[in-house]
Amino acid sequence: MILAVAGGKGGVGKTTLAFNIAAETDGVAVDADLGMADLPHGWGPDLHDVLAGRADPMECIYEGSVPIVPCGRSLSGSRAADLSRYRKTLTAIEKERKTVIVDCPAGLRTDVGVPLAISHGVLLVVTPQPVAIADAVRTRELARELDAGLVGVACNSRSETSETDSQQIDWQSGRQLAIDELADVFGAPVTSIPNDPHLERSVRTETPLTDVAPNSNAAEQIRDLSRSIRACRS
């Protein structure tokens, strides 16, 4: 299964979730942010090289604690990337590793649209702020247009005791929405991922949350999400 993790807005936690979901589903996390890569980078070839036809998809898998296909960080590498190679790349990895988690970039351009179009489903990542929700709604619309089914919605950065806080007015970012309101907006169940310092550090330290804090609430929610994804796969 190829699953796109997208959300429209940057900084909502797409990469962190993609990394942790890949860990829990025994999948490969692909850093599809061709302009501003986020996942750790090894010394070998990367997604830029694959999309430029200079490397084989399988030789780009960096076998860390979670298998990752990293992406280069150069502008010239980004320009040289040919998106028509995406399908072959992602399906080749899927064939070998069964589950591919594609960490999509922010925005609504072809670098988001093409992986979405190839993916079997999309996991939307939002924060409760209206601006993030608006971007995620557009991304869901794009996914629908490109026939990528909505596998789930993950709401990041919600404090564990914020059920009442979420009803307060935040003058900086507008009113935050409660989980059931979010579910209404997306027409799908929303999984709330509580704040967890281990989760925030997981990508940087390359340690999945379910390994370092398996009993935390956030780890439980990630396992829940992963179960839904596995259910879609089978």
Partner: protein, 330 residues
């Protein structure tokens, strides 16, 4: 198939509405092509163009003996007819595969060529498809309020911002360049001086290129500073004029109060960038002085060698061998 159209003008925008009648007893599809000199602004759902639409028109399916209406906006001069039937067929409208639809719907993600060519992008042979080139040329397809809004203006300023950042990066790298370090070594002989001179010429070319980039960065920073000073000194009375001029310039990427905030941020950033340039220019001056000193020393050595050579030449000229006397003796 029969096409009826109507056209309404709102300022510079034209709203085209059309009705297509399928008199046949079977379902048919039709491709409608925009004839106006501008890109189609299609109906959207949550910011995404509805299915069938692209930048040049729309392909729709019309049930048997039915009429279907479509409408779109276009920023162009009035042309008659604004659209026409390009092709028709039986059955449902053929649908491209999802990645192709993604390409049609969305703008390219590629960083602009200018952002890369200043460094050494050409050597990396960027792959740019015709479609991408076309996408870049018509950036602004989705300029009606979704996240790619105001693409043309945004693209322009984003390019320049990236270019500026690369310029700075380039300058930072420049401090550690081996080519420059060559000049800090003392030339051992005239041959090495010559080699270094050649390297120095290549370095000069690079330096000139960087100087161009620096002057571009500085000129943009200077314009922002001028805007900032006008806004600070002129007060409310002239603020509107200055803001209008600011909006027309490309030195910031937002309008109105947002533009003002953006200008403020850019000025803070300019302060840092300019201070780095000061350090860099001072280092360049030191490096050039070193180079001048080394060249001076090399020139002195060569002059001394020339004097020695000249003395040898004089001595060679002064020598008069007693050949005749010696011949007589033998």
């Amino acid at each position: 198939m029969r096409l009826a159209w109507d056209l309404q003008e709102y300022d510079e925008l034209i709203l085209v509405t059309a009705r297509v009648h399928n008199p046949a007893p079977v379902k048919r599809y039709v491709r409608l092509q925009n004839h106006l000199d501008g890109k189609v602004r299609p109906p959207r759902s949550n910011g995404i163009p509805e299915r069938g639409w692209d930048v040049d028109g729309v392909t729709i399916t019309i049930p048997a003996q039915s009429v279907r209406g479509v409408g779109y906006a276009c920023k162009a001069d009035r042309t008659s007819p604004p659209l026409g039937i390009e092709s028709t067929g039986r059955g449902n409208a053929p649908d491209a595969d999802a990645p192709t639809r993604a390409h049609r719907l969305l703008d390219t993600f590629r960083p602009p060529r200018n952002a890369v060519t200043g460094i050494h992008a050409e050597s990396s042979h960027p792959v740019v498809t015709d479609e991408d080139a076309a996408k870049q040329s018509r950036s602004g397809l989705m300029d009606d309020g979704i996240s790619t809004s105001n693409n043309s203006a945004e693209g322009c300023t984003a390019d320049e911002t990236v270019s500026e950042k690369r310029t700075l990066e380039n300058h930072t790298n420049h401090n550690n360049e081996p080519a420059n370090n060559e000049w800090t070594k003392t030339p051992q002989n005239s041959e090495s001086v010559e080699q270094n001179r050649t390297r120095g010429m290549a370095g000069d070319d690079q330096r000139e290129e960087r100087t161009d980039q620096t002057s571009h960065t500085l000129s943009r920073a200077r314009r922002r500073i001028e805007f900032g000073m006008k806004l600070e000194k002129g007060g409310v009375a002239t603020a509107i004029d200055v803001l209008e001029a600011l909006r027309d310039s490309t030195v910031i990427d937002a309008n109105g109060i947002a533009g003002l905030r953006s200008l403020d941020t850019e000025l803070r950033s300019d302060e840092v960038i300019l201070e780095e340039h000061v350090d860099e220019q001072l280092e360049q001056a030191i490096s050039l002085r070193k180079r001048a000193k080394e060249l001076q020393e090399a020139a002195d050595r060569i002059e001394r060698a020339a004097r020695t050579t000249s003395q040898l030449a004089d001595r060679a000229g002064e020598i008069s061998l007693p050949i005749e006397i010696l011949e007589r003796l033998t």
